[in-house]
């Protein structure tokens, strides 16, 4: 196993590795932030669904040569709207509606991708290909990170209310549906950015695991957002290091680092109280 100094040396020598690290960290930060709202709203399954539902958008974007973000956003939002529509216009429960819609989108995406010739590699879309990040990709990721931070800073109050007490928001006239779909749109953008780092299949892990770990350590939403983004960034960089030195696939390496941090927190965090701390009373 190459040492850390070798990894740092390689970072200096290879531009592709630098790009990979920068992108991975940005993706870690944005998924930690948006993931926090996703888990607090009890929407982990929705996060998974949206991340899979963007696949046909990715395929269509490849086919016609336009920006991935646009194709993916269209299908991500379409899926969110369709899930909401089916759930509210039938007796079917939301989780069922999510299952039906996202698997259909995912299947459609598979077929479309297989119709796209040559350069696109399904394997890379599914599992990520962080080492092939272009300058253009870095720019796009930076723009999405900017959007995520602006969105959350600007609408922090509203996001807190729709996550904690939606009914209260509706009684004072907050358009909760608008904020719900805005959050879904931003989630879609994050998903597409994370495609390259961890791939479609593991996007949900980047969204949920660092946020869940942060949740175990704090009772303050702002602290949770910052902590989740730091944990996301750490997962991304340590995962990339492992990927480089052990020749592991980058996506699974990053996700395993995040999961390890979660496991550790699960055992030792005072909020979880899995290990009884003698001096403090259990929080739960």
């Amino acid at each position: 196993m190459a040492s850390l100094s070798e990894f740092i040396g390689a970072l200096g020598r290879y531009d592709f590795l630098q790009s990979a690290l920068i992108t991975a960290i940005m993706v870690g930060v944005m998924s930690g932030i948006i993931g926090s709202f996703i888990i607090l709203r009890g929407m982990s399954l929705m996060g998974d669904a949206i991340s899979h539902a963007v696949l046909p958008g990715v395929a269509v974007a490849y086919m016609f040569g336009f920006n991935l973000l646009i194709g993916a956003s269209v299908f991500g939002i379409l899926a969110a709207l369709l899930i909401g529509f089916v759930a509210s216009h039938s007796k079917i429960k939301t989780d069922t509606s999510i299952g039906v819609v996202f698997s259909a989108f995912y299947a459609l995406g598979f077929i479309l991708i297989s119709m796209v010739e040559s350069s696109t590699n399904l394997h890379h879309i599914l599992f990520g290909n962080i080492l092939a990040v272009s300058d253009n990709d870095i720019m796009t990721t930076a723009v999405v990170l900017g959007i995520v931070i602006m969105f959350v800073v600007t609408f922090y109050k509203e996001l807190l209310v729709i996550s904690f007490d939606e009914t209260f928001g509706r009684t004072y006239g907050l358009p909760v549906q608008v904020f719900h779909y805005a959050l879904m749109l931003v989630l879609t953008l994050v998903t597409v950015s994370a495609l390259q780092t961890v791939g479609i299949i593991l996007v949900v892990a980047m969204l949920i695991t660092p946020a869940a770990t942060a949740f175990l350590w704090t009772n303050n939403l702002k602290v949770m957002l910052v902590l989740a983004s730091i944990l996301g960034a750490i997962s991304a960089s340590v995962g990339l290091y492992l990927s480089y030195t052990l020749n592991w696939a980058s996506g699974p390496a990053i996700v395993l680092v995040a999961a390890t941090m979660f496991l550790t927190s699960f055992i030792v965090s005072p909020k979880q109280a899995f290990l009884k701390w003698p001096s403090k009373k259990a929080v739960k």
Binding site: L40, G42, T154, F155, Y156, K157, E158, L160, V161, S163, F164, D165, T167, F168, R170, T171, Y172, G173, L174, F215, T218, N219, N220, L221, V223, M224, V283, K284
Partner: protein, 245 residues
């Protein structure tokens, strides 16, 4: 005055109640009583605009409720909330200022001072930085009343505020309702404990899939109405000394 006219609400075509007409007066604490499933929560949710009625209008001082939404505060039933949410008592109370702040504004000194004052009014100042799951049911209910205080609303609607809480919290909340009333506000309380009806409420709405009767408590809280809304047995227990045989 809050006026409800010809209000009909149905879930999947099964009407909960039809053509309900009732007035809620300012400077009064109005209780809404009725058996389980009588449509009490449905009525206030329709008033608040949380569910869309089939027909009917709700007016506050002759204006449609949508136009005066920020003048109405709602203390919902606590059971629907996620108590593990990373928020402390103080920040929860501050959310009460969000409605009037509007978009793009963050709570500042004024809002925080209001939250602090409201917490002291419900005697929970020392709990300001507790996470909300670390409170008793009664303390938590007082926190939600504190949130309603900072909303500075003219109409306050509470859904079963006294369920499962300690006597001290109940007394504290009742004192605040009375202070609101004396300040000229309209207070509407869904209530289930018939024993306290006469001491708590100035006006009463008796409901059972429609209005049985409404008006000053002294006028409408009688054996006939309770029998019609609940049952003959309950009516005789409450109104005939010695109760049923």
């Amino acid at each position: 005055m809050l006026t409800v006219e010809k209000l009909t609400v149905a879930y999947d075509d099964t009407p909960v109640f039809a053509d309900v007409a009732v007035n809620f007066n300012a400077s009064k604490i109005t209780g809404i009583i009725g058996p389980n499933g009588a449509g009490k929560s449905t009525l206030i949710k329709a008033i608040l605009g949380l569910i869309k009625p089939k027909t009917g209008t709700v007016l506050y001082q002759d204006q449609p409720i949508k136009a005066v939404q920020k003048q109405i505060a709602y203390v919902e039933q606590r059971k629907d909330l996620d108590l593990t949410f990373p928020i402390d008592v103080f920040d929860l109370v501050v959310t009460g200022t969000y409605g009037k702040l509007g978009l793009f504004k963050s709570p500042g000194k004024k809002e925080k001072a209001a939250a602090k004052a409201a917490l002291s009014q419900v005697s929970l100042s020392e709990f300001a930085h507790r996470q909300i799951s670390q409170l008793s049911g009664g303390q938590l209910q007082r926190v939600f009343v504190a949130r309603a205080i900072v909303q500075e609303a003219d109409v306050i609607i509470l859904d079963e505020p006294f369920v499962g809480i300690d006597l001290q919290s109940e007394t504290a909340i009742m004192a605040i309702l009375k202070a609101w009333r004396d300040a000229g506000k309209t207070i509407i309380v869904i209530h289930h404990d018939l024993n306290k009806v006469t001491s708590y409420f100035d006006d009463l709405v008796i409901l059972n899939h429609g209005i049985i009767d409404y008006g000053p408590t002294a006028d409408v809280y009688n054996a006939t109405n309770i029998e019609r809304a609940f049952s003959a047995d309950l009516s005789s227990v409450l109104f005939e000394k010695g109760g049923v045989q």
